[in-house]
Structures are given as structure tokens and as C-alpha cells.
């Protein structure tokens, strides 16, 4: 089995409402000088091989219209 991490994030240029809300909360907490906050998600999975991971991302884990994804294999 391999273990993989899939990192999914909103495409550049698309307003990320969640990231904006997080960013908006920062000054009140005393965090200055932080900007361009974007919130995505990580999917961890184990698979027999990496053959179909790309397809899995295209069809289910990400919506390619609005999200980019990266697949990172962390252990063989």
C-alpha cells in the first residue's frame, strides 16, 4: 500500500469566502501583517497503487472548475 496526501485548494483568482473570513478575524486577535489567507483541505488515503489517484481527484476529491489539487505520495 502507498500512503498519499491530496492537497486541494480554491483556484487562484476565485474569491475564497472562507479564507477571507479567517483573514478578517486576524486583526482582532492581534495578528498583523498576514494576508492572502486561503483555506483548502487535505485528504489522506491509502491505496494499492497510485494509478488512479489522478482520476479520483478529477472525478470526486476536487472540482477542477473551481479547485486545484496536488497529489503527494508520502510512503511506499
Amino acid at each position: 500500500m502507498i500512503q498519499a496526501l491530496v492537497l486541494i485548494r480554491p483556484k487562484e483568482g476565485i474569491l475564497d469566502a472562507q479564507g477571507k473570513a479567517v483573514e478578517g478575524a486576524l486583526p482582532a486577535l492581534g495578528f498583523e501583517g498576514i494576508e492572502h489567507v486561503r483555506v483548502g483541505r487535505i485528504v489522506e488515503l491509502k491505496a494499492e497503487n497510485a494509478d488512479r489517484l489522478e482520476e479520483l481527484c478529477e472525478k470526486l476529491l476536487a472540482n477542477p472548475l473551481i479547485e486545484d489539487y496536488e497529489i503527494e505520495t508520502i510512503s511506499e
Binding site: I14, L15, A17, Q18, K20, A21, L60, L61, N63, L65
Partner: protein
């Protein structure tokens, strides 16, 4: 006209949608409102005998991952895709719209509202110039008032796709000036596929079909396909 209203684990507007179908049937003198419209459980694959499909609002499969992303793979949705390919009328409301976009039956995607808040209020829509059986009773440019209630309703399409949607007259509804609640591009509240037989919208016509709710403007969508003679 017999409607099938899909029911996923997590759907919550399917009974109002079925009620709207039955009121529409009755208003058209079809079977006194009991002409065979029914709920369709998400594991069903046989849509034979049904003339139209509603994919209703709610939180199908908990909306885990992304709204509509998992419902798209349900057995019933495979059957709906075939039904739509054959020209059958399919109406997606709210979460149903998200499911139809995720499944590729409609163009675009629905993102979290610009201000991240859940919206629940009555609002105005302008009827677009899409050629669809669902709009046969609605004139382009007129206004209808129906409830908005959603958190992920911001319509988005990349520039080329958006241009294509506009050029093909696939916009079914736009939010009236000042009524865009979520930051949708071009004020788009609902779109059709290229053929016009599949229509999705974020606002809720099924909640505006009886006088007590303050508006009956939603009924036209449920009457439309029968009036257009679009039986599958």
C-alpha cells in the same frame, strides 16, 4: 404528468417539491393532484413511467466534501443522466442544482456565498431568455418572487464558459437588481443545459406554490413542462 422527486439521505425539501408537483398536476386537471407523482429513493434506478424529475434541496449525503459531490454518484443520478440525455425534463433546486452541476448535466459550479452567511429570505428573480419547457409559462424579463435559502449559492464559471452560457441563452433566472444575495457572477440564479430540458436554480420555487406562503410564483416551473408538452 408524473413527477419523480429524488430523495437522498440528507434531502429536506423533497416533500415540498412533491407537493408542488401535485398542486401543478391538479391545476392542470391531471388526476386531481394524485396522478402518480412520487418520491424516488436514491438507490432506485428505474424511472420508467415518470415524465419529469426534480432533484430537490437539502444536504445530500451531508454535503460532505463539497455540496452535491457525492450525490452525483448515486444510482438514481445515473438514471437521471440517462433520462436527461433522452430529453426528459429535470429540475434541480438548491442542493439539486449543485448536484446537477457536479454531475456535469449543467454548466458551472456553486461556491460558498460571498459573505459566508446562510441566507433565508424572499427575493426577486428576473426570468431569463433561456428556451426551456420549465419556462413555458414565464415571459423573459418578468419578475417572480420566491424564497432564497442557501449558504453555497454563488454561481461561478470560468470566463470562457460564462461567455458560452450567455451566448447560448442558457440563463434561466437572474437575481433582480439589488437582490443578488451571494455574489453570483452576472447575477445568475439559474441556468439550463444547452438543450433546455435540464434547469437548475438556487432559489426555491417549491416553497411558493400556495397562497399562505405569500407567493405562488413558483408554481409556473412545475406547470411548465406539461404545458410545453415535453413529456419524456
Amino acid at each position: 404528468m408524473k413527477w419523480g422527486v429524488l430523495q437522498f439521505p440528507g434531502s429536506c425539501d423533497e416533500r415540498d417539491a412533491l407537493n408542488a408537483c401535485r398542486i401543478a398536476e391538479a391545476s392542470l386537471g391531471e388526476g386531481g393532484g394524485s396522478g402518480g407523482s412520487r418520491l424516488v429513493w436514491h438507490e432506485e434506478t428505474d424511472l420508467s413511467g415518470l415524465d419529469g424529475i426534480v432533484v430537490p434541496g437539502g444536504f445530500s449525503y451531508g454535503d460532505y466534501l463539497r455540496a452535491g459531490a457525492i450525490a452525483r454518484f448515486s444510482p438514481a443520478m445515473n438514471a437521471v443522466a440517462e433520462f436527461a440525455a433522452g430529453g426528459g425534463p429535470v429540475l434541480g433546486i438548491c442542493n439539486g442544482f449543485q448536484v446537477l452541476c457536479e454531475s456535469g448535466l449543467l454548466p458551472g459550479a456553486l461556491l460558498t456565498n460571498e459573505r459566508t452567511r446562510f441566507i433565508c429570505r424572499q427575493g426577486d428573480l428576473i426570468v431569463g431568455d433561456a428556451d426551456s419547457p420549465f419556462l413555458s409559462e414565464l415571459e423573459a424579463g418578468t419578475t417572480i418572487s420566491i424564497p432564497f435559502k442557501h449558504q453555497s449559492g454563488r454561481f461561478f464559471a470560468p470566463p470562457e464558459l460564462l461567455e458560452e452560457i450567455e451566448a447560448n441563452n442558457q440563463v434561466a433566472f437572474r437575481y433582480a437588481p439589488g437582490h443578488n444575495p451571494n455574489g453570483s457572477l452576472n447575477d445568475i440564479a439559474g441556468v439550463t443545459n444547452q438543450a433546455g430540458n435540464v434547469l437548475g436554480l438556487m432559489p426555491h420555487p417549491e416553497h411558493a406554490v400556495e397562497e399562505f406562503s405569500g407567493s405562488t410564483d413558483g408554481l409556473a416551473l412545475f406547470r411548465g413542462p406539461a404545458l410545453a408538452g415535453a413529456n419524456a
